[in-house]
Amino acid sequence: MTVHSTLEKASWAAEPERGSLSMLRIMTWCSLKFGRKATRCALYPITAYFLLFSPKSRRASRAYLERAQERPVRWRDLYRHFFSFASTIHDRIYLINRRYDLFDFEIHGEHLLEKDNGLFLIGAHLGSFEAISAIGKKNAGLRVVMLMHEANAQKINAVLSAINPQSNQEIIGLGNLDAMLKVEAKLNKGYAVGMLADRTPGNEACRPVKILNETAHLPTGPFRMAALLKRPVVFMTGLYLGGNRYAIHFDHLADFSVAMPDGRDQAIQDAVNRYAGLLDQYCRKAPYNWFNFFDFWHPESE
């Protein structure tokens, strides 16, 4: 049985990402009108504005960067962190509008995606999901459907259709009884089912793990689902490297399609630990890509 250590008040769910949404509204309009190079200039003052007027996000950024970089954090680091977030939101507009020609992608581990019977792609609020889905669209063989909690599904749908009414990103909400059947049907057709597994809206079963030398709690749900439907699980992240460069990484996380000698619960626990290990590894490698601007390690303190 999974341990139900629940995060009663998940602070991020209560906060409707006010900053990122208002940022997005301003940028969508201008970006499509004036192009990436010209509108990118606007990111500097926008970043400065959010850095000055979002003290909570700033504190979270500082606390995170201290862990990831293991050295004192300067304003310059905070600025780069916020700027990297602004850049990925800005680039999202072009990626959703299929302007792949504007970017330079390096891809690692793409061979892991060659599964005929479907697989789970597990990511985090680390880097750009749109950069990953761009690979899917360029490489017509990979079809991705996103699975998420109902409230997020509605929000993301609204954002996507605002940016590009033809975006066609398929989304399954977890709120309906038939969600599992829908997911299974997609897997049978060879789809990759994507989930972001670093946050929960509260009341979901979590496990303690170590990320950047400190205990955090990660939901087990995404891995329980993959185990139930007996599919391989691949980690995904689209790290922003500055300029127009993205590095997309796929890493093996678990394979629930083969026998689990130590039992299902142990296999799930191993997968959660490995996921935490990969988050740790990529946070150190590309620290400005962590887009959880709240106290991820102690969400109950907010």
Binding site: M1, G175, A179, M180, L181, K182
Partner: protein
């Protein structure tokens, strides 16, 4: 009338048993009170648990799981409401 009541409580026990087996819960089926909330504070199930049970129930009782109109939160409010839903929609 008595028969109806009896079959409903039998079904309730059966569903409780199914839940305990399916999720490997550390409570006995008889200990699940019919009105305890299944989500959150009550039995402490989460959204993936609910999906797992709904899959098991659909197979066992031949339910059609459709998204239109089926309100999870209400159906899975308690063992009693879940049993009532199954009784009304079962084909097996």
């Amino acid at each position: 009338m008595q028969d109806n009541q009896k079959s409903e409580s039998t079904l309730q026990n059966e569903v409780a048993q199914l839940m305990v087996e399916c999720l490997n819960l550390e409570v006995a089926a008889e200990q699940i009170s019919p009105d305890t909330p299944l989500y959150g504070d009550g039995l402490g199930l989460d959204s993936i648990d609910i999906l797992e049970i709904s899959l098991a129930i659909s197979k066992r009782y031949g339910l059609q799981l459709r998204s239109d109109g089926a309100d999870n939160k209400q159906i899975f409010g308690s063992l009693r409401s879940l049993t009532t839903y199954i009784a009304a929609h079962r084909t097996l």
